[in-house]
């Protein structure tokens, strides 16, 4: 049993060495060259701009919850975001740390390691889309890569525009976007979530008009969804098996029609507090699902 448990360690050592050996960016590139990110979303945009971070919180969860863009090898894991391993961060010698107001509490500590740039994107009590665009431009400016940022924004617009016609079959009814907490309770995403922004851009109607928290979702019992008539239920994985059984068997769900063919759609995870790469992923997954339905 010793061998398999040591393997990842060795890999981690090599990865760490790799990270330390990453050469500084070509002289032409301005701005910081060793960025640490405490936020998945900001790391997504950094990768998209060709400046992947040297350190990131909770690297292990990326492939499960964020998925896109793929994480380059050699990024050092800084532990969980709210329990950041400052010692490791210090040893990485970053020249910039990107963070969010959510982690504002840590700013005085982070500032001892390197300058901190904070990006308010989610939980601003307003739709995140303008903040997503602004954050992308600001990161581009920081790296002297404004062109790259504009190109990336255009790329995202193109991706959404390409997805829009493919979701046309789903414009017949509103969609409900839910993420399961347990078999009977969900987060349902509404106004001020970036999912909602993407839905608008694709010409889809969000069926959830109820109130949401600043993060753009409401924690409700499943039965609250039954009041939204004739909606298409889009569930992000993972969905508890018990929830599927309930939806298939219970009289309520038969009457709402969620159990009718094509009305319940499961999507792979899309990071709920992500940035534009997540938006493109969400649009593409929706388009693929609509096309296959």
């Amino acid at each position: 049993m010793a061998a398999p448990s040591r393997c990842p360690n060795r890999r981690r050592v090599l990865a760490g060495l790799g990270a330390c050996a990453i050469p500084p960016l070509p002289a032409a590139a301005a701005g910081p060259s060793r960025v640490a990110s405490l936020d998945y979303g900001l790391a997504q945009t950094l990768i998209a701009l060709g400046r992947p971070p040297v350190g990131l919180s909770a690297v292990g969860g990326w492939s499960t919850w964020v998925v896109e863009p793929p994480l380059p090898a050699g990024i050092v894991d800084l532990g969980t975001a709210r329990e950041t391993n400052f010692e490791l961060l210090q040893q990485l010698k970053p020249d910039l740390i990107v963070s969010t107001p959510y982690l504002e509490r840590l700013r005085p500590l982070l500032a001892r390691v390197a300058p901190v740039e904070s990006f308010a994107i989610h939980a601003t009590d307003s739709p995140p889309w303008p903040h997503l665009v602004a954050a992308t431009r600001r990161l581009g400016d920081l790296f002297g890569a404004a062109d790259r940022a504009e190109a990336f924004l255009a790329e995202i617009d193109g991706a959404l525009a390409a997805s829009a016609p493919r979701v046309a079959p789903w414009r017949d009814r509103p969609v409900l976007l839910v993420s399961f907490q347990d078999a009977r309770n969900v987060w349902v995403f509404g106004r001020n979530s970036f999912y909602d922004d993407v839905l608008r851009r694709l010409g889809l109607a969000n069926g959830w008009a109820g109130r949401t928290n600043p993060w753009g979702f409401a924690a409700v019992g499943m039965e609250a969804l039954a009041r939204v008539r004739d909606a298409r239920l889009i569930c992000f994985d993972p969905v508890p098996p018990e929830a599927l059984r309930l939806i298939a068997d219970s009289a309520i769900w038969r009457a709402t029609g969620f159990s009718a063919p094509g009305r319940l759609v499961r999507l792979p995870p899309v990071f709920a507090f992500g940035t534009l790469p997540s938006a493109a992923r969400f649009a593409r997954l929706l388009a693929e699902a609509a096309a296959h339905a």
């Binding site: 959510y102 982690l103 504002e104 009977r184 109820g210």
Partner: protein, 662 residues
């Protein structure tokens, strides 16, 4: 002597009317009154409002009634079995134990959770009760000791569950919902089996009513040929099974099991048989009113509060209200000193004084490296790392010393071996302040957070002191602290169920994380320790006398009330200062004084010094272990401390065994 059932009948009627009113309000949000009857009996399969009434509102009502009745019966049986008016599934840690068991099963053996869900919850609940008994056996199951031990077990289980969710956030997401007792239903698949279980268990409970009633007669019960021990065991078993059935079906519903039987008693039901019956009815009514009321609030105001969390919010004030009305026997006798032998302890004290700083030094030089694994920093590399390592190490040492001394003061004052700063509620006050700032302030700066935490703990300490001035005994004050703590946890559960991500930030502090201690906070903690710990030495005489009880104090010319107020004030200050640095969780305060006693430190003065050193060493070690256990992840010192201290405490309080010095 027949008791009139009029008062309880009126109370049940009142609850019924309130519940029916709220339910009618909920129903009218779905359907006009004319359509209620068909919806209840035979809903049209394509009529959604009718179906919602039949398959969501109705099963939820059934679940509320069944869970309320089940928990109330369990509480009534526990109170009778243990002869303890404060016993309940919540206060004995049964619910928390079941919750922890379910969390563990979710992570380790999810396959168990299908058909074996009830069994897992049962095992957890029974384990918690066994530990509570182990902790309080030496005190002959004195009511307050049992309750304190129960609340300690509940806190430890809660801490462990919190730690598990900290490290396995996504896998245990459902557990947060379940832990706050959400009763919402979408079919009858929960209500029907729960009905079966509660009814099946209610049968033997009813059969046991008579023998249990005879327990009131104690000696005569034995002469009637009853095996008292066996009846108690069966009663306990039934109560735990009832609780486990409810908990595994709907989650943690705090305090109904305490409030309903207490209400029955307050309504003049002194004989156990009738009290059992009416407790069940009152419990069903209480949970019905709460749950239907919350649904009405949700329908009208759109605010979704999980029922279990709300019952705890309502239950804590009930506990506070009950407190002065209960005539509780104090802890049976002074804490027996395990090793009163006057050993030559000077050498040991010197050894402790060397050991604690050595541990701290080790923590300063060892740590994770970016390449993975651990490294002993070379002198040249150490400079940039030290600013991260010394504050947390210094804060751990200072807070450990302060908590240990606070624990010692409280144990001496209350003459209760399981008293400790964590149950004083002061740490909950600090936590509440912090949470309020995080949620209300636009930009919760660090300074603002520290100030709010200080204010919160001062408010609780002030309340306790005011209570103390009004001649409440130390035990009453402890229970008040526990109730305040429960109130706080309930508030946190409400927030957690709302899914607010800001809560995650508090979660690490609540779990006793030291990773973001700033130099200022560390120096502040050290300064507080340097002032407050020596200040305790001024109370040495009172502390030595406190163990002998108020009578002895008065005989020696010391005003017991003033002395206990002074001790309490100092304990509160120590706790508040430590909590600011390390969060509300760490069982150093329980364990260090016992360890000091085991090491032969008998007089108050040297025990203060020894406890402080042991406490400092324990928390420094806990923080160090948490840093190097699984890098890059850091396990909060509070969780490590709890995991280390829990078993240690149980070992130290074991009855009988190892009488002599080890």
């Amino acid at each position: 002597m027949r008791e009139s059932p009029r008062a309880p009948a009126l109370a049940v009627l009142l609850l019924g009317c309130l519940g029916a009113g709220a339910t009618a309000l909920v129903l009218s949000a779905h359907l006009p009154p004319a359509a209620w009857i068909p919806a209840l009996i035979a809903p049209a399969p394509d009529d959604l409002p009718q179906l919602l009434v039949h398959d969501s509102v109705l099963p939820r009502l059934a679940v509320a009634l069944l869970a309320g009745a089940g928990l109330a019966l369990a509480g009534a049986v526990l109170q009778q079995t243990l002869r303890n008016p404060l016993a309940s599934p919540t206060t004995l840690g049964i619910e928390a134990g079941a919750q922890l068991a379910l969390a563990l099963a979710t992570l380790v053996a999810p396959a168990l959770l299908g058909p074996g869900r009830d069994a897992v919850a049962l095992a957890g609940g029974a384990g918690a009760v066994a530990i509570v008994f182990g902790l309080s056996w030496r005190d002959r199951l004195a009511p307050l000791t049992v309750i304190l031990a129960g609340m300690v077990v509940a806190m430890v289980c809660g801490a462990a569950a919190a730690g598990l969710s900290l490290l396995n956030e996504e896998a245990l997401r459902g557990l947060t919902v379940w832990g706050s007792g959400a009763l919402n239903q979408q079919d009858w698949s929960v209500a029907a089996p729960l009905a079966g279980r509660v009814l099946v268990l209610a049968g033997p409970v009813a059969l046991l009513a008579r023998p249990l009633q005879l327990l009131d007669l104690d000696e005569s019960a034995r002469s009637l040929g009853l095996s008292v021990a066996r009846i108690r065991l069966v009663g306990l078993g039934l109560a735990v099974a009832l609780t486990a059935a409810v908990v595994s079906a709907v989650g943690v519903i705090g305090f109904v099991g305490l409030a309903a039987p207490a209400l029955a008693r307050a309504l003049g039901l002194h004989r156990f048989g009738p009290r059992l019956l009416w407790s069940g009815l009152l419990g069903a009514g209480l949970l019905w009113v709460t749950d239907a009321g919350l649904q009405a609030v949700e329908a009208l105001a759109g605010v979704n509060v999980p029922t279990g969390a709300a019952t705890a919010l309502l239950g804590a004030p009930i506990l506070l209200w009950l407190m002065p009305r209960l005539r509780l026997a104090p802890a049976a006798e002074p804490v027996p000193a395990a090793t009163p032998r006057r050993a030559r302890t000077g050498g040991r004290l010197v050894a402790l004084a060397l050991l604690a700083p050595l541990l701290g030094l080790a923590c300063l030089v060892v740590g994770p490296s970016p390449g993975g694994g651990l490294a002993v920093a070379r002198l040249s590399d150490l400079a940039p790392l030290l600013p991260w390592r010394w504050p947390r190490t210094l804060a751990a040492g200072s807070a450990g010393a302060m908590l240990a001394v606070a624990g010692l003061l409280l144990q001496q004052l209350t003459r209760n071996p399981v008293a400790g700063p964590e149950v004083l509620g002061v740490s909950s006050g600090a936590a509440l302040g912090l949470v309020l700032v995080l949620f209300l302030a636009a930009t919760p700066t660090y300074g603002l957070q520290v100030a709010a935490a200080a204010l919160g703990s001062a408010a609780v300490a002030g309340t306790l002191l005011a209570l103390g001035r009004r001649a409440a005994g130390p035990d009453q004050i402890l229970i008040t602290g526990i109730a305040l703590g429960a109130l706080f946890s309930a508030g946190m559960a409400v927030l957690a169920a709302g899914g607010d991500p800001r809560l995650l930030l508090v979660a690490s502090w609540l779990a006793g994380s030291l990773s973001d201690v700033s130099p200022q906070v560390a120096v502040g903690a050290a300064a507080s320790a340097a002032i407050l710990v020596p200040a305790c030495l001024l109370l040495v005489r009172w502390l030595d006398l406190a163990v002998l009880g108020p009578g002895a104090m008065r005989a020696l010319g010391v005003c017991p009330r003033r002395a206990s107020l002074a001790i309490l004030a100092l304990a509160a200050a120590l706790t508040a200062a430590a909590t600011l640095a390390v969060g509300p969780l760490s069982f150093v305060g329980f364990v260090a004084p016992h360890l000091a006693r085991r090491l032969g430190f008998a007089r108050a003065g040297e025990r203060i010094a020894a406890s402080a050193l042991i406490g400092a060493g324990l928390l420094v070690a806990a923080d160090g272990i948490g840093r190097v256990l699984a890098p890059p992840f850091q396990v909060p010192a509070g969780l490590i401390g709890t995991v280390l201290a829990g078993p240690l405490l149980i070992g130290l309080l074991q009855p009988g065994r190892r009488r002599g010095p080890a």
